[in-house]
C-alpha cells in the first residue's frame, strides 16, 4: 500500500519522527504539532499549485523537515513552499523549487508571526513571490539561514529575500545570486528591508556571497522612509558596493557556472580562503556537506567552501 503522508502527519504523536520513503507525493500539509519528517532518499513534496506544500503553526516544540524537495507550492497567503505561522521550525537540506506566493510573498518560505525558523544547507531556486521571491520574513519572526543558496528567484520587492516589519534575519555562509526584481517598484534583487513607523527589521549578513546583475538599491534595498538595521560582515559583495565599507570584499564571485553545481567557485575566486579566522565553527559543513575547514586553507565565503 502506498505511503499516505497526510495521514501519517495527522496520526503522528507529538514529537514523532516520520521517515518518508523515496517518491513523489502530492502534499498540502498542515502541521500543528511538533514533528520530524525525514526524507529517506529522493522525496519530492509537490503541492500541484493548489496551496502551500506545508503550513506550520505550533504552540510549542519543533517541526523539522529534512532532505525534501519542496515544489509546486502556491499560496496567496504567503509561503508557497513552506509557511511558518507560529512556533519553531527547522528546515535541513531541503530544496525549494518553483514555488509561488503571488499575492503576498515568500515564494519558497514565509516566516511570520513570532515564529523562529532555522534553515540549514537548503537551496532556494526559481521561486517567485510578490515580496520576497525566495523568502519573506515578516512581523516579528526570526530566520537563521546558513550554508544555503538563494538563486534565480524573482519578486517585485526582494527577489531573493524580503525582511519587513520587526523581523530578524541572520544569514551566514550563503550564496545569493542571479535573483531578479520586476515591475514599476522593483527594488532589492538580493535583499529588501522595510520597516514601519513602529517597527524596524534587522538583518545580519556574514560570510556570504552576493552576486546580482542589478546595482545599488535595485540589488540591496534598505532605503527610506523606514530602513532596517543591516550589518554586513566579511562578505564578498559586487564591486559597486565598495561605498558600504566594513571588512567586506568587493569583487566578482567567479562561479563555475557549469555542471550540476554551477555556483561552486572557480580556483581563482576571491571568496576562497577569505573567511575570518573564526568565521565558521569547527566541524562546519558547506551546502554540499563537505567540511568547511581544511588543513591547508581557511574556509571560503558563500555556500560552497571548495572549488569544483
Amino acid at each position: 500500500m502506498a505511503f499516505d503522508l497526510a495521514k501519517a502527519v495527522r496520526d503522528a504523536a507529538p514529537n514523532a519522527s516520520i521517515p518518508v520513503p523515496a517518491g513523489t507525493y502530492p502534499a498540502t500539509l498542515v502541521i500543528e504539532k511538533p514533528l520530524s519528517l525525514v526524507a529517506m532518499g529522493r522525496v519530492v513534496l509537490d503541492a500541484g499549485g493548489r496551496a502551500s506544500v506545508a503550513r506550520i503553526a505550533t504552540k510549542d516544540g519543533l517541526v523539522r523537515l529534512a532532505g525534501f524537495i519542496i515544489a509546486g507550492g502556491d499560496s496567496p497567503e504567503g509561503g508557497g513552499g513552506v509557511a511558518v505561522l507560529a512556533g519553531a521550525a527547522e528546515l535541513l537540506e531541503c530544496t525549494f523549487r518553483y514555488n509561488k506566493a503571488p499575492v503576498n510573498g515568500g515564494g519558497g518560505l514565509w516566516a511570520t508571526g513570532n515564529s523562529q525558523v532555522t534553515v540549514t544547507r537548503c537551496r532556494f531556486e526559481g521561486n517567485t513571490g510578490r515580496q520576497g521571491g525566495a523568502i519573506l520574513v515578516d512581523e516579528v519572526a526570526s530566520l537563521k539561514l546558513s550554508d544555503s543558496t538563494v538563486i534565480q528567484n524573482a519578486a517585485v520587492l526582494g527577489g531573493g529575500l524580503k525582511v519587513r516589519e520587526g523581523a530578524t534575519a541572520t544569514i551566514h555562509g550563503c550564496t545569493i545570486a542571479d535573483n531578479k526584481v520586476v515591475g514599476d517598484a522593483a527594488m532589492g534583487s538580493a535583499l529588501h528591508l522595510s520597516g514601519s513607523t513602529t517597527r524596524t527589521p534587522t538583518v545580519s549578513l556574514s560570510h556570504c556571497i552576493v552576486s546580482e546583475r542589478a546595482e545599488g538599491p535595485a540589488c540591496l534595498f534598505n532605503g527610506s522612509p523606514h530602513p532596517g538595521k543591516l550589518t554586513l560582515t566579511r562578505n564578498l559583495l559586487p564591486p559597486w558596493c565598495k561605498a558600504l565599507g566594513g571588512d567586506n570584499l568587493f569583487a566578482e564571485a567567479k562561479f563555475t557556472l557549469q555542471g550540476t553545481e554551477p555556483y561552486q567557485l572557480q580556483p581563482d575566486s576571491p571568496a576562497l580562503g577569505a573567511a575570518a579566522e573564526d568565521g565558521f565553527p569547527k566541524g562546519a559543513k558547506d551546502l554540499s556537506g563537505r567540511a568547511r575547514h581544511s588543513a591547508t586553507a581557511k574556509p571560503a565565503l558563500g555556500a560552497f567552501s571548495l572549488v569544483r
Binding site: T28, R50, A51, P76, E77, L85, G113, N114, R130, T197
Partner: protein, 333 residues
C-alpha cells in the same frame, strides 16, 4: 520657505501702512481660494491685524476679523509618498464637502484605485460587511482637518495585538482638485473613510509603494479588527466543507476574503468575469434553485461574473466555480 499667496496680498496691502476695504476683500478672496485654510495662513492675517502702526479703512478690519472667526482652519500634515510611477501626475487635494461617513459604513462603499492593494480593499470591505462599527470605531475626526486611524499591530500567533494610531489630514491623492481620488475611494465621492484608512496605512508602513505591491488579506483584517484569523486553501477541504465554513462564518459575522490564482493561470479566467491575481470580499454563501453559491464582491466596485443586471462587482458564483477559480479563503477573527 516661499511666501504664500495670502502673504503676498498682505505685503501689498501694508506697503502704505493702510489696509483698504478692497485690499481686505482681496486678502479674503485669496484665502478662500486657497486649497486649504491652514493655521499658518490664519496666523499671517492675525499678525497683520495686530501689527503696530497699521490703519484699516472702513470695515476692512471688521471684515477680516469676521472672516477669521467664521472660517475653521484645517491642518496640513505631511502626506505619504505616492507610487513612484505616479509622482508626476498626482497631487494631494482636499475633498470638497467631504464627510467621513455618508449614510454610515457599507461594504459596498469601497472602491480600489490604481494601486495593487486589493488585499487591503478586499479586507476593508469584508470588515465593513461583518462589523461596520469596527470601521466607525477605527477612525476619529479630530475636527481640525485631520483624522486618526487606529490599527492593530500583530505580535505573533495568539499574542494580543497592539493598537497603533496614525493621524493624517483629509487630503487624498488625485490628478486634479475635485477629481476622484486615484487610490482607494468611496462610491460616493464625498465619503472619505476608504481613502483615509488606506492613506493612514500607507503612512504607517512607509508610503503607497510599501502597501501597493500585494499583501496578506488575513493580516489586513487583523490590522483592522485586532483579531487573528486563519487561511484555508480550497484544496484542503471538500466543496461542501468550504460552503459550510463560509456560511457558518458569515452567520457569525466574521470578515472573509478569497484569493484567485496568479497571473500564470490567467487562461482559466477567460470569459469568467473573475480576475486572476486578485482578492475579493466574501459576502456569504447560500442556495438557489438547488444550486449552492458563494457571494463575492470585487473591491474595484465593478467587473463581475454572470449577468445580474448591474455591474456593481457583487455576484453569486456557483460553488463548483468558486472551488475552481479561487485558491482559498481568509477568515478573519
Amino acid at each position: 520657505m516661499p511666501i504664500s499667496r495670502v502673504g503676498e496680498k498682505i505685503a501689498t496691502a501694508l506697503q502704505d501702512q493702510t489696509v483698504t476695504q478692497d485690499e481686505a476683500k482681496s486678502i479674503i478672496d485669496t484665502a478662500t481660494a486657497e486649497k486649504k485654510w491652514t493655521p499658518e495662513l490664519k496666523a499671517e492675517v492675525e499678525a497683520m491685524l495686530a501689527r503696530p502702526g497699521t490703519s484699516f479703512e472702513g470695515t476692512a478690519k471688521a471684515d477680516l476679523q469676521k472672516f477669521l472667526a467664521s472660517t475653521p482652519t484645517q491642518k496640513d500634515l505631511a502626506d505619504p509618498a505616492v507610487l513612484n510611477k505616479h509622482t508626476t501626475n498626482i497631487s494631494w487635494n482636499p475633498v470638497q464637502d467631504g464627510k467621513l461617513f455618508v449614510d454610515g459604513v457599507n461594504y459596498d462603499d469601497v472602491a480600489q484605485g490604481y494601486i495593487g492593494d486589493c488585499y487591503l480593499e478586499g479586507a476593508m470591505s469584508a470588515v465593513a460587511k461583518s462589523n461596520p462599527k469596527a470601521i466607525e470605531d477605527a477612525i476619529k475626526d479630530n475636527g481640525d482637518g485631520t483624522y486618526t486611524v487606529r490599527f492593530f499591530e500583530a505580535q505573533g500567533w495568539n499574542q494580543p495585538t497592539k493598537p497603533v494610531s496614525v493621524t493624517v489630514d483629509g487630503d487624498l491623492p488625485s490628478t486634479s482638485p475635485g477629481s476622484t481620488p486615484y487610490y482607494a475611494h468611496a462610491r460616493d465621492s464625498k465619503e472619505l473613510w476608504p481613502g483615509l484608512i488606506e492613506k493612514a496605512y500607507a503612512q504607517w508602513k512607509g508610503g503607497y509603494e510599501a502597501i501597493g505591491n500585494g499583501g496578506d488579506p488575513g493580516g489586513m483584517m487583523t490590522a483592522l479588527t485586532g483579531k487573528q484569523g486563519t487561511y484555508v486553501a480550497n484544496a484542503s477541504l471538500t466543496a461542501d466543507q468550504v460552503y459550510e465554513k463560509i456560511k457558518t462564518q458569515a452567520t457569525a459575522s466574521r470578515p472573509m476574503t478569497a484569493s484567485t490564482f496568479g497571473e500564470d493561470q490567467e487562461a482559466k479566467y477567460t470569459n469568467t468575469g473573475v480576475h486572476a491575481w486578485h482578492v475579493y470580499t466574501v459576502l456569504g454563501a447560500g442556495e438557489e434553485g438547488g444550486q449552492k453559491y458563494v457571494e463575492l464582491r470585487n473591491p474595484w466596485g465593478f467587473s463581475e461574473a454572470g449577468h445580474d443586471g448591474k455591474d456593481d462587482g457583487i455576484f453569486k458564483l456557483p460553488l463548483a466555480d468558486f472551488m475552481n477559480l479561487y485558491q482559498g479563503t481568509s477568515f478573519g477573527g
